[in-house]
Subunit: 314 residues, 2 copies
Protein backbone atom coordinates (compact mmCIF):
# COMPACT_ATOMS: atom_id res chain seq x y z
CA UNK A 1 0.00 0.00 0.00
CA UNK A 2 0.89 3.62 -0.35
CA UNK A 3 1.83 5.58 2.79
CA UNK A 4 0.05 8.74 1.68
CA UNK A 5 -3.08 6.96 0.48
CA UNK A 6 -3.26 5.29 3.90
CA UNK A 7 -2.57 8.46 5.88
CA UNK A 8 -5.12 10.58 4.02
CA UNK A 9 -7.52 7.72 3.20
CA UNK A 10 -7.60 8.47 -0.53
CA UNK A 11 -7.67 6.14 -3.54
CA UNK A 12 -4.89 7.76 -5.58
CA UNK A 13 -1.80 9.47 -4.10
CA UNK A 14 -2.62 12.68 -5.94
CA UNK A 15 -3.07 15.91 -4.01
CA UNK A 16 -4.50 18.99 -5.64
CA UNK A 17 -2.36 21.90 -4.48
CA UNK A 18 -4.20 24.53 -2.43
CA UNK A 19 -3.93 27.65 -4.60
CA UNK A 20 -5.05 31.21 -4.01
CA UNK A 21 -7.96 32.32 -6.24
CA UNK A 22 -8.16 28.89 -7.95
CA UNK A 23 -9.04 26.20 -5.46
CA UNK A 24 -12.32 26.79 -3.73
CA UNK A 25 -14.88 24.17 -2.73
CA UNK A 26 -15.83 23.31 -6.34
CA UNK A 27 -12.33 22.19 -7.27
CA UNK A 28 -11.50 20.60 -3.91
CA UNK A 29 -14.68 18.53 -3.82
CA UNK A 30 -14.33 17.49 -7.48
CA UNK A 31 -10.80 16.21 -6.83
CA UNK A 32 -11.80 14.41 -3.65
CA UNK A 33 -14.79 12.83 -5.36
CA UNK A 34 -12.41 11.57 -8.08
CA UNK A 35 -10.14 9.74 -5.64
CA UNK A 36 -7.47 12.37 -4.98
CA UNK A 37 -7.22 14.84 -2.11
CA UNK A 38 -8.78 18.23 -2.74
CA UNK A 39 -7.44 21.24 -0.84
CA UNK A 40 -9.22 24.54 -0.30
CA UNK A 41 -6.70 27.37 -0.71
CA UNK A 42 -7.38 29.65 2.23
CA UNK A 43 -4.66 32.15 1.33
CA UNK A 44 -7.05 34.31 -0.68
CA UNK A 45 -10.05 33.95 1.69
CA UNK A 46 -11.33 35.95 4.64
CA UNK A 47 -12.23 33.66 7.57
CA UNK A 48 -15.98 33.75 6.84
CA UNK A 49 -15.36 33.00 3.16
CA UNK A 50 -13.20 30.05 4.19
CA UNK A 51 -16.03 28.81 6.44
CA UNK A 52 -18.49 29.01 3.55
CA UNK A 53 -16.14 27.03 1.28
CA UNK A 54 -15.59 24.35 3.91
CA UNK A 55 -19.31 23.98 4.51
CA UNK A 56 -20.05 23.74 0.78
CA UNK A 57 -17.22 21.25 0.31
CA UNK A 58 -18.60 19.03 3.07
CA UNK A 59 -21.95 19.00 1.28
CA UNK A 60 -20.38 18.27 -2.10
CA UNK A 61 -18.25 15.30 -1.02
CA UNK A 62 -18.18 12.64 1.66
CA UNK A 63 -14.52 11.94 0.86
CA UNK A 64 -11.57 13.45 2.77
CA UNK A 65 -10.50 16.96 1.83
CA UNK A 66 -8.25 19.55 3.44
CA UNK A 67 -7.33 23.20 3.71
CA UNK A 68 -4.07 24.80 2.65
CA UNK A 69 -2.97 27.40 5.16
CA UNK A 70 -0.11 29.76 4.23
CA UNK A 71 1.46 30.99 7.46
CA UNK A 72 2.33 34.45 6.14
CA UNK A 73 -0.96 36.26 6.70
CA UNK A 74 -2.06 38.09 9.86
CA UNK A 75 -5.39 36.23 10.00
CA UNK A 76 -3.92 32.74 10.45
CA UNK A 77 -5.34 32.31 13.95
CA UNK A 78 -8.83 33.13 12.70
CA UNK A 79 -8.42 30.63 9.88
CA UNK A 80 -7.35 27.95 12.34
CA UNK A 81 -10.42 28.62 14.48
CA UNK A 82 -12.67 28.16 11.44
CA UNK A 83 -10.85 24.95 10.46
CA UNK A 84 -11.29 23.50 13.95
CA UNK A 85 -14.89 24.66 14.34
CA UNK A 86 -15.75 23.08 10.99
CA UNK A 87 -13.92 19.86 11.94
CA UNK A 88 -11.57 19.82 8.93
CA UNK A 89 -9.25 16.87 9.53
CA UNK A 90 -6.40 17.65 7.12
CA UNK A 91 -4.33 20.86 6.97
CA UNK A 92 -1.43 21.61 4.65
CA UNK A 93 0.61 24.50 6.07
CA UNK A 94 3.11 26.44 3.96
CA UNK A 95 5.25 29.58 3.77
CA UNK A 96 6.28 29.64 7.41
CA UNK A 97 7.72 27.75 10.35
CA UNK A 98 6.13 24.30 10.81
CA UNK A 99 6.84 24.47 14.56
CA UNK A 100 4.32 27.24 15.07
CA UNK A 101 1.02 25.34 14.71
CA UNK A 102 1.77 21.65 14.10
CA UNK A 103 1.66 20.55 17.73
CA UNK A 104 -1.50 22.50 18.47
CA UNK A 105 -3.33 21.19 15.39
CA UNK A 106 -2.26 17.60 16.00
CA UNK A 107 -3.55 17.76 19.57
CA UNK A 108 -6.91 18.60 18.05
CA UNK A 109 -6.75 15.49 15.88
CA UNK A 110 -5.79 17.24 12.64
CA UNK A 111 -3.38 15.60 10.18
CA UNK A 112 -0.69 18.21 9.44
CA UNK A 113 1.39 18.30 6.26
CA UNK A 114 3.92 21.08 5.69
CA UNK A 115 5.32 22.40 2.39
CA UNK A 116 9.07 23.02 2.14
CA UNK A 117 11.61 23.81 -0.59
CA UNK A 118 14.91 23.01 1.15
CA UNK A 119 16.64 20.63 3.56
CA UNK A 120 16.65 23.06 6.48
CA UNK A 121 12.87 23.28 6.64
CA UNK A 122 12.46 19.56 6.00
CA UNK A 123 14.44 18.93 9.19
CA UNK A 124 12.30 21.50 11.06
CA UNK A 125 9.22 19.60 9.87
CA UNK A 126 10.49 16.36 11.35
CA UNK A 127 11.23 18.10 14.65
CA UNK A 128 7.72 19.56 14.60
CA UNK A 129 6.40 15.99 14.06
CA UNK A 130 4.36 16.74 10.94
CA UNK A 131 2.54 13.76 9.42
CA UNK A 132 4.00 14.25 5.94
CA UNK A 133 6.09 16.72 3.94
CA UNK A 134 5.50 18.31 0.54
CA UNK A 135 8.85 19.08 -1.12
CA UNK A 136 8.34 21.64 -3.86
CA UNK A 137 10.90 22.28 -6.59
CA UNK A 138 11.99 25.47 -8.36
CA UNK A 139 9.65 24.80 -11.31
CA UNK A 140 6.53 25.13 -9.13
CA UNK A 141 4.18 28.09 -9.44
CA UNK A 142 3.71 30.68 -6.74
CA UNK A 143 5.97 31.02 -3.73
CA UNK A 144 9.25 29.21 -3.84
CA UNK A 145 12.62 28.77 -2.13
CA UNK A 146 15.78 30.84 -2.36
CA UNK A 147 17.89 27.73 -3.05
CA UNK A 148 16.22 27.22 -6.47
CA UNK A 149 16.58 23.44 -6.08
CA UNK A 150 14.56 21.61 -8.74
CA UNK A 151 12.18 18.72 -8.10
CA UNK A 152 14.61 16.25 -9.73
CA UNK A 153 17.30 17.16 -7.19
CA UNK A 154 15.14 18.10 -4.19
CA UNK A 155 13.12 14.88 -3.84
CA UNK A 156 16.08 12.49 -3.42
CA UNK A 157 17.81 15.00 -1.11
CA UNK A 158 14.78 15.29 1.18
CA UNK A 159 14.01 11.56 1.02
CA UNK A 160 17.49 10.89 2.39
CA UNK A 161 17.05 13.00 5.52
CA UNK A 162 13.42 12.46 6.60
CA UNK A 163 11.37 9.49 7.78
CA UNK A 164 7.79 10.74 7.27
CA UNK A 165 5.95 10.23 3.96
CA UNK A 166 7.06 12.53 1.15
CA UNK A 167 4.89 14.31 -1.43
CA UNK A 168 6.62 15.75 -4.51
CA UNK A 169 5.50 19.04 -6.05
CA UNK A 170 6.76 21.21 -8.88
CA UNK A 171 6.75 20.27 -12.55
CA UNK A 172 4.17 17.51 -12.12
CA UNK A 173 1.00 17.43 -14.19
CA UNK A 174 0.95 14.09 -16.00
CA UNK A 175 1.20 10.38 -15.25
CA UNK A 176 4.75 10.32 -16.58
CA UNK A 177 5.90 13.03 -14.20
CA UNK A 178 4.00 11.39 -11.34
CA UNK A 179 5.90 8.17 -12.05
CA UNK A 180 9.17 10.14 -12.28
CA UNK A 181 8.50 11.69 -8.86
CA UNK A 182 7.93 8.23 -7.39
CA UNK A 183 11.09 6.91 -9.03
CA UNK A 184 12.89 9.72 -7.19
CA UNK A 185 11.46 8.48 -3.89
CA UNK A 186 8.19 10.34 -3.42
CA UNK A 187 5.15 8.55 -2.00
CA UNK A 188 2.67 10.90 -3.69
CA UNK A 189 2.45 14.02 -5.81
CA UNK A 190 0.91 17.46 -5.40
CA UNK A 191 -0.36 19.00 -8.62
CA UNK A 192 -1.20 22.70 -8.87
CA UNK A 193 -0.98 24.29 -12.32
CA UNK A 194 -2.93 21.64 -14.16
CA UNK A 195 -5.84 21.97 -11.71
CA UNK A 196 -5.62 25.78 -11.84
CA UNK A 197 -6.72 25.40 -15.47
CA UNK A 198 -9.42 22.82 -14.71
CA UNK A 199 -13.13 23.30 -15.29
CA UNK A 200 -13.83 23.56 -11.54
CA UNK A 201 -11.02 26.04 -10.82
CA UNK A 202 -12.38 29.38 -9.62
CA UNK A 203 -9.71 31.25 -11.58
CA UNK A 204 -10.94 33.80 -14.12
CA UNK A 205 -11.49 32.41 -17.62
CA UNK A 206 -8.84 34.81 -18.98
CA UNK A 207 -6.26 33.38 -16.60
CA UNK A 208 -7.19 29.80 -17.50
CA UNK A 209 -6.79 30.62 -21.20
CA UNK A 210 -3.45 32.31 -20.46
CA UNK A 211 -2.24 29.12 -18.75
CA UNK A 212 -3.01 27.24 -21.99
CA UNK A 213 -1.16 29.95 -23.96
CA UNK A 214 1.97 29.75 -21.82
CA UNK A 215 4.97 28.40 -23.73
CA UNK A 216 8.44 27.09 -22.91
CA UNK A 217 10.15 29.81 -20.85
CA UNK A 218 6.85 31.63 -20.35
CA UNK A 219 7.15 31.78 -16.55
CA UNK A 220 9.90 33.18 -14.36
CA UNK A 221 10.89 32.94 -10.71
CA UNK A 222 10.62 36.61 -9.77
CA UNK A 223 10.58 39.05 -6.86
CA UNK A 224 13.66 37.38 -5.46
CA UNK A 225 14.40 40.29 -3.13
CA UNK A 226 10.97 40.02 -1.48
CA UNK A 227 9.81 36.40 -1.53
CA UNK A 228 10.52 34.41 -4.69
CA UNK A 229 7.37 33.67 -6.69
CA UNK A 230 6.97 32.07 -10.12
CA UNK A 231 4.83 34.17 -12.46
CA UNK A 232 3.82 34.34 -16.09
CA UNK A 233 5.98 36.89 -17.95
CA UNK A 234 3.49 39.72 -18.51
CA UNK A 235 3.45 43.53 -18.38
CA UNK A 236 3.24 43.49 -14.57
CA UNK A 237 6.34 41.27 -14.34
CA UNK A 238 8.29 43.43 -16.80
CA UNK A 239 7.54 46.52 -14.71
CA UNK A 240 8.69 44.75 -11.55
CA UNK A 241 11.92 43.75 -13.26
CA UNK A 242 12.59 47.30 -14.37
CA UNK A 243 12.19 48.46 -10.78
CA UNK A 244 14.51 45.74 -9.55
CA UNK A 245 17.14 46.62 -12.14
CA UNK A 246 16.96 50.26 -11.10
CA UNK A 247 17.99 49.01 -7.65
CA UNK A 248 14.80 50.03 -5.81
CA UNK A 249 14.73 49.02 -2.14
CA UNK A 250 12.59 46.24 -0.73
CA UNK A 251 10.22 48.80 0.73
CA UNK A 252 9.94 50.80 -2.50
CA UNK A 253 9.22 47.61 -4.39
CA UNK A 254 6.48 46.64 -1.96
CA UNK A 255 4.87 50.04 -2.24
CA UNK A 256 5.04 50.19 -6.03
CA UNK A 257 3.73 46.66 -6.24
CA UNK A 258 0.64 47.69 -4.38
CA UNK A 259 -1.83 45.18 -3.04
CA UNK A 260 -4.33 42.88 -4.65
CA UNK A 261 -2.28 42.18 -7.77
CA UNK A 262 -2.82 38.42 -7.56
CA UNK A 263 -6.58 38.87 -7.22
CA UNK A 264 -6.55 41.31 -10.13
CA UNK A 265 -4.79 38.83 -12.39
CA UNK A 266 -6.00 35.42 -11.34
CA UNK A 267 -9.55 36.16 -10.17
CA UNK A 268 -10.48 39.31 -12.12
CA UNK A 269 -8.66 38.29 -15.29
CA UNK A 270 -6.51 41.40 -15.85
CA UNK A 271 -3.61 39.75 -17.69
CA UNK A 272 -1.56 42.96 -17.99
CA UNK A 273 -1.76 44.49 -14.52
CA UNK A 274 -2.29 41.33 -12.48
CA UNK A 275 0.14 38.88 -10.87
CA UNK A 276 -0.27 35.48 -12.57
CA UNK A 277 1.12 32.66 -10.42
CA UNK A 278 1.70 29.41 -12.28
CA UNK A 279 4.31 26.67 -12.64
CA UNK A 280 6.62 25.83 -15.57
CA UNK A 281 4.46 22.80 -16.29
CA UNK A 282 1.80 25.18 -17.64
CA UNK A 283 3.69 25.00 -20.96
CA UNK A 284 2.37 21.45 -21.28
CA UNK A 285 -1.26 22.17 -20.33
CA UNK A 286 -3.40 22.31 -23.46
CA UNK A 287 -7.04 21.94 -22.41
CA UNK A 288 -9.42 22.98 -19.65
CA UNK A 289 -10.79 19.66 -18.39
CA UNK A 290 -12.96 18.50 -15.47
CA UNK A 291 -10.87 17.45 -12.46
CA UNK A 292 -12.12 13.89 -12.71
CA UNK A 293 -10.89 13.57 -16.30
CA UNK A 294 -7.50 15.02 -15.33
CA UNK A 295 -7.11 12.41 -12.61
CA UNK A 296 -8.25 9.54 -14.85
CA UNK A 297 -5.77 10.61 -17.54
CA UNK A 298 -2.93 10.84 -15.04
CA UNK A 299 -3.58 7.36 -13.66
CA UNK A 300 -3.85 5.90 -17.16
CA UNK A 301 -0.58 7.54 -18.23
CA UNK A 302 1.07 6.43 -14.99
CA UNK A 303 0.19 2.79 -15.66
CA UNK A 304 1.27 2.99 -19.30
CA UNK A 305 4.59 4.61 -18.38
CA UNK A 306 5.21 1.98 -15.71
CA UNK A 307 4.70 -0.80 -18.26
CA UNK A 308 6.98 1.02 -20.72
CA UNK A 309 9.77 1.19 -18.10
CA UNK A 310 9.66 -2.59 -17.80
CA UNK A 311 11.15 -2.71 -21.30
CA UNK A 312 14.42 -1.35 -19.90
CA UNK A 313 16.29 -4.45 -18.80
CA UNK A 314 19.95 -4.31 -17.81
CA UNK B 1 16.16 -2.65 -27.04
CA UNK B 2 17.14 0.88 -26.26
CA UNK B 3 17.38 3.42 -29.12
CA UNK B 4 20.46 5.13 -27.69
CA UNK B 5 22.26 1.89 -26.80
CA UNK B 6 21.68 0.77 -30.39
CA UNK B 7 22.72 4.05 -31.97
CA UNK B 8 25.93 4.39 -29.96
CA UNK B 9 26.59 0.65 -29.56
CA UNK B 10 26.89 0.81 -25.78
CA UNK B 11 25.71 -1.56 -23.06
CA UNK B 12 24.04 0.96 -20.76
CA UNK B 13 22.24 4.14 -21.93
CA UNK B 14 24.51 6.29 -19.76
CA UNK B 15 26.56 9.06 -21.31
CA UNK B 16 29.29 10.79 -19.37
CA UNK B 17 28.93 14.50 -20.12
CA UNK B 18 31.91 16.08 -21.88
CA UNK B 19 33.14 18.63 -19.35
CA UNK B 20 35.92 21.21 -19.56
CA UNK B 21 38.90 20.43 -17.31
CA UNK B 22 37.31 17.19 -16.04
CA UNK B 23 36.80 14.73 -18.85
CA UNK B 24 40.04 13.81 -20.61
CA UNK B 25 40.95 10.40 -21.99
CA UNK B 26 41.26 8.78 -18.54
CA UNK B 27 37.61 9.45 -17.63
CA UNK B 28 36.21 8.90 -21.13
CA UNK B 29 37.95 5.53 -21.57
CA UNK B 30 37.01 4.40 -18.04
CA UNK B 31 33.33 5.14 -18.72
CA UNK B 32 33.40 3.46 -22.13
CA UNK B 33 35.15 0.41 -20.70
CA UNK B 34 32.39 0.20 -18.07
CA UNK B 35 29.57 0.03 -20.63
CA UNK B 36 28.60 3.71 -20.90
CA UNK B 37 29.70 6.29 -23.45
CA UNK B 38 32.73 8.36 -22.47
CA UNK B 39 33.10 11.84 -23.96
CA UNK B 40 36.32 13.83 -24.16
CA UNK B 41 35.54 17.46 -23.34
CA UNK B 42 37.35 19.44 -26.02
CA UNK B 43 36.22 22.84 -24.76
CA UNK B 44 39.30 23.26 -22.59
CA UNK B 45 41.79 21.73 -25.06
CA UNK B 46 43.99 23.18 -27.79
CA UNK B 47 43.70 21.10 -30.99
CA UNK B 48 46.99 19.24 -30.40
CA UNK B 49 45.96 18.45 -26.80
CA UNK B 50 42.65 17.10 -28.09
CA UNK B 51 44.56 14.91 -30.58
CA UNK B 52 46.71 13.51 -27.77
CA UNK B 53 43.61 12.71 -25.67
CA UNK B 54 41.87 10.99 -28.57
CA UNK B 55 44.95 8.90 -29.33
CA UNK B 56 45.35 7.87 -25.69
CA UNK B 57 41.63 7.09 -25.42
CA UNK B 58 41.82 4.80 -28.46
CA UNK B 59 44.68 2.91 -26.79
CA UNK B 60 42.81 2.69 -23.48
CA UNK B 61 39.52 1.31 -24.83
CA UNK B 62 38.22 -0.61 -27.80
CA UNK B 63 34.67 0.50 -26.97
CA UNK B 64 32.92 3.50 -28.59
CA UNK B 65 33.73 6.94 -27.21
CA UNK B 66 33.12 10.46 -28.44
CA UNK B 67 34.14 14.10 -28.24
CA UNK B 68 32.07 16.98 -26.89
CA UNK B 69 32.49 20.06 -29.05
CA UNK B 70 31.16 23.39 -27.74
CA UNK B 71 30.52 25.60 -30.77
CA UNK B 72 31.45 28.85 -29.02
CA UNK B 73 35.22 28.86 -29.45
CA UNK B 74 37.17 30.24 -32.42
CA UNK B 75 39.15 27.00 -32.88
CA UNK B 76 36.14 24.78 -33.68
CA UNK B 77 37.28 24.11 -37.28
CA UNK B 78 40.68 22.93 -36.05
CA UNK B 79 38.97 20.65 -33.51
CA UNK B 80 36.80 19.17 -36.24
CA UNK B 81 39.85 18.48 -38.39
CA UNK B 82 41.49 16.62 -35.51
CA UNK B 83 38.28 14.65 -34.85
CA UNK B 84 38.05 13.58 -38.50
CA UNK B 85 41.76 12.82 -38.87
CA UNK B 86 41.61 10.66 -35.76
CA UNK B 87 38.45 8.92 -37.02
CA UNK B 88 36.29 9.70 -33.97
CA UNK B 89 32.84 8.39 -34.84
CA UNK B 90 30.67 10.20 -32.26
CA UNK B 91 30.48 13.97 -31.67
CA UNK B 92 28.27 15.78 -29.17
CA UNK B 93 27.98 19.45 -30.18
CA UNK B 94 26.70 22.11 -27.78
CA UNK B 95 26.43 25.85 -27.15
CA UNK B 96 25.67 26.85 -30.72
CA UNK B 97 23.57 26.28 -33.83
CA UNK B 98 23.22 22.58 -34.74
CA UNK B 99 22.83 23.51 -38.40
CA UNK B 100 26.41 24.71 -38.68
CA UNK B 101 28.31 21.39 -38.64
CA UNK B 102 25.81 18.52 -38.43
CA UNK B 103 25.47 17.95 -42.19
CA UNK B 104 29.22 18.14 -42.79
CA UNK B 105 30.04 15.73 -39.95
CA UNK B 106 27.33 13.25 -40.92
CA UNK B 107 28.64 13.16 -44.51
CA UNK B 108 31.93 12.03 -43.02
CA UNK B 109 30.17 9.20 -41.20
CA UNK B 110 30.11 10.80 -37.77
CA UNK B 111 27.13 10.30 -35.42
CA UNK B 112 26.07 13.80 -34.30
CA UNK B 113 24.21 14.53 -31.07
CA UNK B 114 23.39 18.12 -30.09
CA UNK B 115 22.74 19.57 -26.63
CA UNK B 116 19.78 21.94 -26.17
CA UNK B 117 17.89 23.56 -23.31
CA UNK B 118 14.68 24.73 -25.01
CA UNK B 119 12.08 23.84 -27.64
CA UNK B 120 13.37 26.27 -30.24
CA UNK B 121 16.76 24.59 -30.50
CA UNK B 122 15.23 21.11 -30.33
CA UNK B 123 13.32 21.93 -33.50
CA UNK B 124 16.51 23.28 -35.11
CA UNK B 125 18.19 19.99 -34.25
CA UNK B 126 15.53 18.00 -36.06
CA UNK B 127 15.84 20.25 -39.11
CA UNK B 128 19.61 19.75 -39.00
CA UNK B 129 18.97 15.97 -38.92
CA UNK B 130 21.01 15.24 -35.80
CA UNK B 131 21.05 11.58 -34.70
CA UNK B 132 19.92 12.33 -31.14
CA UNK B 133 19.28 15.25 -28.81
CA UNK B 134 20.48 15.93 -25.26
CA UNK B 135 17.91 18.06 -23.42
CA UNK B 136 19.54 19.69 -20.41
CA UNK B 137 17.56 21.19 -17.55
CA UNK B 138 18.13 24.27 -15.37
CA UNK B 139 19.74 22.18 -12.61
CA UNK B 140 22.68 21.16 -14.82
CA UNK B 141 26.18 22.48 -14.24
CA UNK B 142 27.98 24.78 -16.64
CA UNK B 143 26.27 26.59 -19.51
CA UNK B 144 22.52 26.66 -19.51
CA UNK B 145 19.44 28.14 -21.16
CA UNK B 146 17.73 31.48 -20.58
CA UNK B 147 14.32 29.77 -20.20
CA UNK B 148 15.41 28.09 -16.92
CA UNK B 149 13.23 25.07 -17.73
CA UNK B 150 13.98 22.19 -15.37
CA UNK B 151 14.61 18.59 -16.42
CA UNK B 152 11.23 17.49 -15.03
CA UNK B 153 9.43 19.91 -17.35
CA UNK B 154 11.86 20.00 -20.28
CA UNK B 155 12.03 16.27 -21.08
CA UNK B 156 8.28 15.74 -21.68
CA UNK B 157 8.12 19.04 -23.62
CA UNK B 158 10.94 18.04 -25.95
CA UNK B 159 9.76 14.43 -26.27
CA UNK B 160 6.44 15.75 -27.59
CA UNK B 161 7.98 17.70 -30.49
CA UNK B 162 10.90 15.57 -31.72
CA UNK B 163 11.22 12.13 -33.31
CA UNK B 164 14.94 11.36 -32.76
CA UNK B 165 16.16 9.61 -29.59
CA UNK B 166 16.27 11.80 -26.49
CA UNK B 167 18.95 11.95 -23.80
CA UNK B 168 18.06 13.69 -20.51
CA UNK B 169 20.63 15.78 -18.63
CA UNK B 170 20.54 17.94 -15.52
CA UNK B 171 19.97 16.70 -11.99
CA UNK B 172 20.82 13.09 -12.83
CA UNK B 173 23.46 11.18 -10.88
CA UNK B 174 21.79 8.07 -9.48
CA UNK B 175 19.76 5.10 -10.66
CA UNK B 176 16.61 6.67 -9.23
CA UNK B 177 17.04 9.86 -11.24
CA UNK B 178 17.95 7.83 -14.34
CA UNK B 179 14.68 5.94 -13.94
CA UNK B 180 12.83 9.23 -13.39
CA UNK B 181 14.28 10.63 -16.61
CA UNK B 182 13.11 7.54 -18.49
CA UNK B 183 9.65 7.79 -16.92
CA UNK B 184 9.56 11.32 -18.36
CA UNK B 185 10.26 9.94 -21.83
CA UNK B 186 14.06 9.97 -22.18
CA UNK B 187 15.84 7.06 -23.90
CA UNK B 188 19.09 7.64 -22.02
CA UNK B 189 20.78 9.97 -19.56
CA UNK B 190 23.85 12.20 -19.62
CA UNK B 191 25.61 12.53 -16.28
CA UNK B 192 28.18 15.23 -15.61
CA UNK B 193 28.67 16.33 -12.00
CA UNK B 194 28.98 12.84 -10.55
CA UNK B 195 31.74 11.99 -13.04
CA UNK B 196 33.45 15.35 -12.45
CA UNK B 197 34.09 14.04 -8.92
CA UNK B 198 35.18 10.56 -10.08
CA UNK B 199 38.62 9.08 -9.57
CA UNK B 200 39.47 9.38 -13.27
CA UNK B 201 38.29 13.00 -13.61
CA UNK B 202 41.16 15.33 -14.45
CA UNK B 203 39.72 18.04 -12.20
CA UNK B 204 41.98 19.33 -9.42
CA UNK B 205 41.66 17.44 -6.14
CA UNK B 206 40.53 20.67 -4.41
CA UNK B 207 37.65 21.00 -6.86
CA UNK B 208 36.63 17.35 -6.41
CA UNK B 209 36.59 17.84 -2.63
CA UNK B 210 34.56 21.03 -3.07
CA UNK B 211 31.97 19.09 -5.09
CA UNK B 212 31.60 16.71 -2.12
CA UNK B 213 31.29 19.72 0.21
CA UNK B 214 28.54 21.36 -1.82
CA UNK B 215 25.21 21.46 -0.01
CA UNK B 216 21.56 22.17 -0.87
CA UNK B 217 21.52 25.60 -2.52
CA UNK B 218 25.30 25.57 -2.93
CA UNK B 219 25.23 26.32 -6.66
CA UNK B 220 23.61 29.14 -8.59
CA UNK B 221 22.75 29.87 -12.20
CA UNK B 222 24.85 32.98 -12.71
CA UNK B 223 26.16 35.41 -15.32
CA UNK B 224 22.71 35.65 -16.82
CA UNK B 225 23.57 38.80 -18.77
CA UNK B 226 26.48 37.06 -20.55
CA UNK B 227 25.70 33.38 -20.94
CA UNK B 228 23.98 31.63 -18.02
CA UNK B 229 26.28 29.20 -16.22
CA UNK B 230 25.73 27.22 -13.01
CA UNK B 231 28.57 27.70 -10.52
CA UNK B 232 29.41 26.91 -6.93
CA UNK B 233 28.75 29.95 -4.71
CA UNK B 234 32.31 31.08 -3.91
CA UNK B 235 34.24 34.35 -3.58
CA UNK B 236 34.51 34.66 -7.37
CA UNK B 237 30.74 34.33 -7.77
CA UNK B 238 30.04 36.86 -5.00
CA UNK B 239 32.30 39.38 -6.77
CA UNK B 240 30.51 38.81 -10.06
CA UNK B 241 27.16 39.36 -8.38
CA UNK B 242 28.32 42.62 -6.85
CA UNK B 243 29.35 43.85 -10.29
CA UNK B 244 26.01 42.80 -11.75
CA UNK B 245 24.09 44.55 -8.99
CA UNK B 246 26.12 47.73 -9.63
CA UNK B 247 24.67 47.54 -13.13
CA UNK B 248 28.00 47.05 -14.96
CA UNK B 249 27.66 46.58 -18.72
CA UNK B 250 28.17 43.29 -20.51
CA UNK B 251 31.55 44.48 -21.75
CA UNK B 252 32.70 45.69 -18.33
CA UNK B 253 31.65 42.37 -16.83
CA UNK B 254 33.62 40.43 -19.45
CA UNK B 255 36.71 42.55 -18.84
CA UNK B 256 36.51 42.34 -15.07
CA UNK B 257 35.88 38.62 -15.27
CA UNK B 258 39.13 38.18 -17.11
CA UNK B 259 40.09 34.94 -18.80
CA UNK B 260 41.06 31.52 -17.55
CA UNK B 261 38.85 31.58 -14.46
CA UNK B 262 37.44 28.09 -15.14
CA UNK B 263 40.95 26.65 -15.54
CA UNK B 264 42.05 28.41 -12.36
CA UNK B 265 39.21 26.91 -10.37
CA UNK B 266 38.59 23.48 -11.83
CA UNK B 267 42.08 22.50 -13.02
CA UNK B 268 44.38 24.50 -10.76
CA UNK B 269 42.22 24.17 -7.66
CA UNK B 270 41.88 27.84 -6.68
CA UNK B 271 38.49 27.66 -4.94
CA UNK B 272 38.32 31.41 -4.21
CA UNK B 273 39.36 33.01 -7.48
CA UNK B 274 38.28 30.28 -9.88
CA UNK B 275 35.02 29.57 -11.69
CA UNK B 276 33.62 26.26 -10.42
CA UNK B 277 31.07 24.79 -12.85
CA UNK B 278 28.90 22.05 -11.35
CA UNK B 279 25.26 20.95 -11.23
CA UNK B 280 22.75 21.05 -8.36
CA UNK B 281 23.09 17.28 -8.06
CA UNK B 282 26.53 17.84 -6.52
CA UNK B 283 24.70 18.25 -3.19
CA UNK B 284 24.07 14.49 -3.32
CA UNK B 285 27.61 13.42 -4.31
CA UNK B 286 29.43 12.09 -1.26
CA UNK B 287 32.45 10.07 -2.47
CA UNK B 288 35.12 10.12 -5.16
CA UNK B 289 34.69 6.74 -6.84
CA UNK B 290 36.07 5.02 -9.93
CA UNK B 291 33.84 5.50 -12.98
CA UNK B 292 33.13 1.78 -13.20
CA UNK B 293 31.80 1.71 -9.63
CA UNK B 294 29.61 4.75 -10.31
CA UNK B 295 28.05 3.02 -13.32
CA UNK B 296 27.55 -0.26 -11.46
CA UNK B 297 25.85 1.57 -8.58
CA UNK B 298 23.57 3.48 -10.94
CA UNK B 299 22.46 0.32 -12.74
CA UNK B 300 21.86 -1.48 -9.45
CA UNK B 301 19.80 1.45 -8.09
CA UNK B 302 17.91 1.68 -11.38
CA UNK B 303 16.83 -1.95 -11.18
CA UNK B 304 15.89 -1.67 -7.50
CA UNK B 305 13.84 1.48 -8.13
CA UNK B 306 12.09 -0.16 -11.06
CA UNK B 307 11.06 -3.08 -8.85
CA UNK B 308 9.93 -0.67 -6.15
CA UNK B 309 7.67 1.16 -8.64
CA UNK B 310 5.88 -2.09 -9.39
CA UNK B 311 4.42 -1.89 -5.87
CA UNK B 312 2.31 1.06 -7.00
CA UNK B 313 -0.84 -0.53 -8.40
CA UNK B 314 -3.89 1.53 -9.28
Amino acid sequence: MNKISELLKIKYPIIQGGMIWCSGWELASAVSNSGGLGLIGSGSMYPDVLREHIQKCKKATNKPFGVNLPLLYPQTDDHINVILEECVKIVFTSAGNPKKYTGFLKEKGVIVVHVIANEKFALKCEEARVDAIVAEGFEAGGHNGFEETTTMVLIPQIKKIISVPLIAAGGIGTGNSMLAAMALGADAVQIGSRFAASLESSAHENFKQEILNTKDGGTKLSLKRLVPVRLIRNKFLREIEELEQRGESREQLLELLGRGRAKKGMFEGDLDEGELEIGQVSAGVSAILPATQIIEEIIMEFNQAKNRLNNFQF
